[in-house]
Every structure is written in C-alpha cells, then in structure tokens.
C-alpha cells in the first residue's frame, strides 16, 4: 500500500502552500495575522521534509519534522509575547505604526 502519486506533485503542493504563506506575510498589516502566515509557511516546509523523507526512505525526515515543530512552537510563543508587549505600548498591533526603532 504505497502512494502512487509522483513526488513532484507533493513538492508543488508544499511550494504552493509556501507561496500563499509568503504572500499573506507580505500583505498583512497586523502582527497577529503575520504570525499566522508564518506558521503556514513552516507547515509547508514540513510537508517538503516529509516528502523527501518518504523519497529516500530515511527516518531522518520525520525526526527533522519533529524538531522544526519544536522551533515553530517556541518561535510563535516568543513572537506572541513580543506582540503583547507591543500592544501594551501602542494599544494596537498595526504594523504601520512600528516606525521608531527606539522600540
């Protein structure tokens, strides 16, 4: 019982999802949707990892998938902490107002 779909389709699908994430990342004006699009991009990258793991029949891909998920979780936790601090200072999370690098 194996997948009979050529691996090219899997890679194109993962890249399509990555493109959606990247475009969403570039368009969005508020920090929350930015982080959500970031998670989408990371999920697309994971899809590519698993396709390559299945292509080369190596467990390494699955383990690397596991590690990428950990880093994604830490990144979203810290990203949201920064966003809450930003919200405390400026009472909104519009990214257009984040001009002064003085923080």
């Amino acid at each position: 019982m194996t997948t009979t779909v050529p691996f090219a389709y899997w890679l194109i699908l993962s890249f399509g999802v990555f493109c959606f994430g990247a475009c969403g990342f570039l368009i969005r004006k508020n920090a929350l949707s930015l982080l959500i699009c970031l998670e989408l991009m990371l999920s697309a990258v994971n899809m590519a990892f698993i396709t390559f793991a299945r292509m080369h029949m190596s467990e390494g891909g699955n383990i690397l998938y596991f590690l990428v998920i950990t880093v994604a979780a830490c990144e979203s936790a810290v990203g949201l902490a920064l966003m809450i601090n930003y919200f405390r200072l400026k009472q909104n999370i519009r990214l257009d107002d984040a001009r002064a690098l003085a923080g």
Partner: protein
C-alpha cells in the same frame, strides 16, 4: 491497506458531525420563533447589560497557554523516549537511556522551577 485503519475514524467523524448538525437543523425548523428585543440582548440575569462589551483580560491566561505549549511539547518528546525505553533496557543500554531521559527531565524541571520562582504560576494578584 494501511489507510483503511483511518477509514473507521473517518466514518465515525462523519456520523458525529451529521448528528450534531442534524440536531441543530431539527431544532431550527421545529422550534418556535418569537424574537423580542429583550430576549436577544446579552443575558445578564435580566438587567440590561452595561459596561464595555469587549473587555481585555489579564495576561495571566496568555502565560498559562505558553507554558502549556512548551511543556506539552516536552511531554510529546518524552513519549518516543518512553516508547523505546524498554527496547534499550533489553539490549542492555538501559543506563544510556536512563541518563538521556534524566538530562531531558532535568531541563524540563528547570523550566518549571523558573516559572514557579518567577511567580508565573500563582494566580492571585
């Protein structure tokens, strides 16, 4: 067929969603319909609601959610370790697996101790 294992899960999910939506649909059509302004205002023991509608809440809930994620992933990391632990013991690498597990648990307890000392866990202001 490996995916046939998940067929059972899929059919059970379909059955439940159908019952959930079916019950709501039935009550939508069967139920009486008498809308009145008092009925559709937010419920506050009968008195008309006052105070800001969308309030903000203390950041404590966010901190609980964050520590939940980070400890949940540490628990998920422990599961593969626990799973292959007995194989390591049988192949006489028990001490290796034990030491690796204890290092990981130590890092995990370090995080918990940090949270405890910093007061992220105690709830009253």
């Amino acid at each position: 067929m490996l995916t046939s294992d998940y067929l059972g899960v899929f059919v059970l999910l379909a059955l439940e969603v159908v019952t959930g939506v079916g019950a709501l649909g039935a009550s939508y059509f069967l139920g009486a319909r008498r809308q009145s302004p008092r009925k559709t205002s937010p419920y506050e023991c009968g008195i008309p609601s006052e105070g800001a509608e969308n309030q903000r809440f203390s950041v404590k809930f966010y901190l609980v959610a964050v520590s939940f994620i980070l400890f949940d992933i540490e628990a998920v990391f422990l599961i593969p370790w626990a799973l292959s632990y007995q194989d390591f013991v049988h192949s006489s690498h028990g001490v290796y697996a034990f030491v690796m597990g204890m290092i990981f648990l130590g890092v995990l307890t370090l995080g918990l101790v940090y949270e405890w000392r910093k007061g992220l866990l105690d709830w009253n202001k």
